[in-house]
């Protein structure tokens, strides 16, 4: 029981980090960036590259990886996404193509084998009578901290207010003189950084291989829709629900059924309450 509680929390934390960034971009720019999963992958591969090939210490490699992925995210937004922002489908398609290109680049550079991202904490901890790896606990802790920090940032800073303003009413925000393009870049950087951090934290105990971007983005998509597009608390809540649902099914039934349960839950949610839990709008 305690094990389910902890493992579920770790899963939810990773999902939350991905979903929050994804929903942030949607809330602000009204686009679904399918390359978000690629930022997750690049974060993990960056950490791998800096520590294995360039032999850097892990902390430095991790920070560098996050920074580079954030910069890359800003670049992708500026070059490929911004010109297409009129059409949601166009952004969807082009971000997907970007994800494919990145996947192929990873295949060609690093090969198809699983790569090893070293963990910050490798020892085992004992909580109650449950053994849990240090890397997992760290992932849980850091994601709580980072999401909390993001929340504070949005609530307490000027840039944060600008983000809120644009997501509530883009036109009015522009009339108020808020530089929306610059805010988009900031949001993109933040969400890419979060995704990269998730990749680095989860890398030690999850897969690191070129196709690792697809499953997380499908899950993030589902979480974000269930939580309510554009709502951060909604994403967190939905991430918790999904993470725990999967863990509980995995422990009680079998891991083959976890995916069906979460997809079915998503479908039911959409049919019953399309706006999501905290969604502001049901449709467009």
């Amino acid at each position: 029981m305690v094990e389910i509680l902890i493992v579920g929390a770790v899963s939810s934390a990773i999902y939350a980090m991905l979903a929050v960034g994804f929903t942030l971009i949607f809330g602000v720019a009204r686009v679904l960036n399918l390359a978000h999963g690629s930022f997750y992958a690049l974060g993990a591969y960056g950490a791998y590259f800096f520590t294995s090939t360039l032999k850097m210490p892990l902390a430095l490699g991790a920070l560098l990886s996050v920074a580079l992925v954030a910069a890359f995210g800003i670049g992708v937004e500026r070059v490929l996404i911004r010109p297409m922002r009129k059409s949601q489908l166009a952004v969807l398609m082009i971000s997907l193509a970007v994800a494919l290109v990145i996947e192929q680049a990873l295949f060609l550079t690093f090969g198809s084998e699983y790569r090893n991202v070293p963990a910050f904490v490798d020892t085992k901890f004992r909580i109650g009578h449950v053994d849990i790896g240090g890397a997992r606990l760290l992932a849980l802790g850091v994601s709580v901290v980072l999401i909390g920090a993001l929340w504070l940032f949005i609530q307490k800073t000027r840039v944060g207010s600008a983000i809120l303003a644009i997501s509530q009413d883009p036109v009015a925000a522009q009339y108020m003189g808020i530089p929306s393009d610059r805010i988009f870049a900031v949001v993109m950087g933040l969400s890419a950084a979060l995704a990269a951090a998730a990749g680095i934290l989860a890398g030690p105990f999850l897969t690191v291989q070129p196709t690792m971007w697809l499953l997380p983005i499908v899950k993030a998509f589902a979480i974000v829709v269930v939580g309510g597009l554009g709502s951060i608390p909604g994403s967190i809540l939905a991430a918790l629900m999904l993470g725990y649902a999967e863990t509980i099914v995995g422990y009680t039934v079998s891991t083959s059924w976890t995916e069906i349960v979460s997809v079915l839950a998503t479908l039911l949610m959409l049919v019953i309450r399309p706006a999501g839990i905290f969604g502001r709008r049901a449709a467009f």
Partner: protein, 416 residues
Amino acid sequence: MTLLRFETSTTARTSLALCLLTLTIMAPGGAQAQGKPIRIGVPTAMQLQVGRDTQDALKMAIDDINAKGGVLGRKLEMVVADETENPETGISAIKKLTADEKVDVLIGGYTSGVTLAQLPHISAAKTIYLNVGSASPATNAKVKTDYDNYKYIFRVGPLNAAHQARQMTGFISGFVKGDLGLSKVAIVGENAKWVQDLVPLLKKGATEAGADIRATEFFDAQTSDFSPLFSKVKESGAQYMVVILSHASSDIFAKQWYDSQFPLAYGGIDVKSMDGDFCDRIGSKSVGEMAANFAVRAPLTPKTIPFFDEFKKVTGRSPVYTAFGANDAAYIYAEAVKRAGSTDADKVIKELEKTSHVGIPGTIEFDENHDVKPGTPTYKGPALLFAQWREGCKREVVFPKELRTADFVYPSWIKK
């Protein structure tokens, strides 16, 4: 800039041309093989390690055969087509190789699902296919029942899943129960069809040998979190965890097993663990695992160690299992063609059926389903060797006893 001008007369130019022409014709080419080259089509998953090793090992064999004069005076050449892990791409790869590139033989294969999808198209193209990667017995099932259409299909490697199940039964009864004295076993396998076909055979054989199968769990190949699985296995009261992993995330499995200091040792079929750098790339976390290999760098046959060394020299890597099949397949085909005196498929098939080739994992012979025969105590065919990862990421063969290079050692945190 001064231009050098040569006085050229017609005679001089013609003589020069004739000289060059003669030199070109007479240019030494070593053991020159005249005639149209024999084309080998290679349908394989190019982006994966198994695909790369298939190609490299095949190329080694081809270069060697060509250097010795080729086959019937003709050189061998290789054409690769990506089959990925998708049946659609696989089928178009076969069509490209047979209808477009018009190859004489196909050597390749990896995913059973793709190979099965390709079979009717290979049969329609009447081209011999030497499988080096997929293990489902279904790929060869039709050879006997529909010989005229499916006689083209041969499997050089690996041993099919049913043979592997029997060898695994030997592992459980001989090693886990026999050597370690543990009779309570949990079987954990990925959700692939060949595994699902294999496990009932395994359970039956192991139970007959006196083992107590406490749990049988299947999990998705994409599973990234094995905690629920480990939990169930621990609760079942098993003393040893037998695994059957192929496409699944063996890396994560090993890492999570190590990180959580799971109280059971594990071993079995773990395809990714066959990789030479498996242990290194997960930070030595697989030390203690017993994994089945089709060949390790040990004198299984006179060819084994030279092959491993040559492969390492040429590619810088340790070979994965498709490399053994690909290398052997080239020689087997070349020898069959030599005996048949032509590349005509029907004639070559007759000769292939008579194959008895000393290959890398053992002697390669085919049964009536054109499927490679497994080794027995009296026949030195390929067999599963169970090797354990040790400190420093070295591998030692622990089972079968005849080939043991070191005794089993429990993982450091398990007190026994």
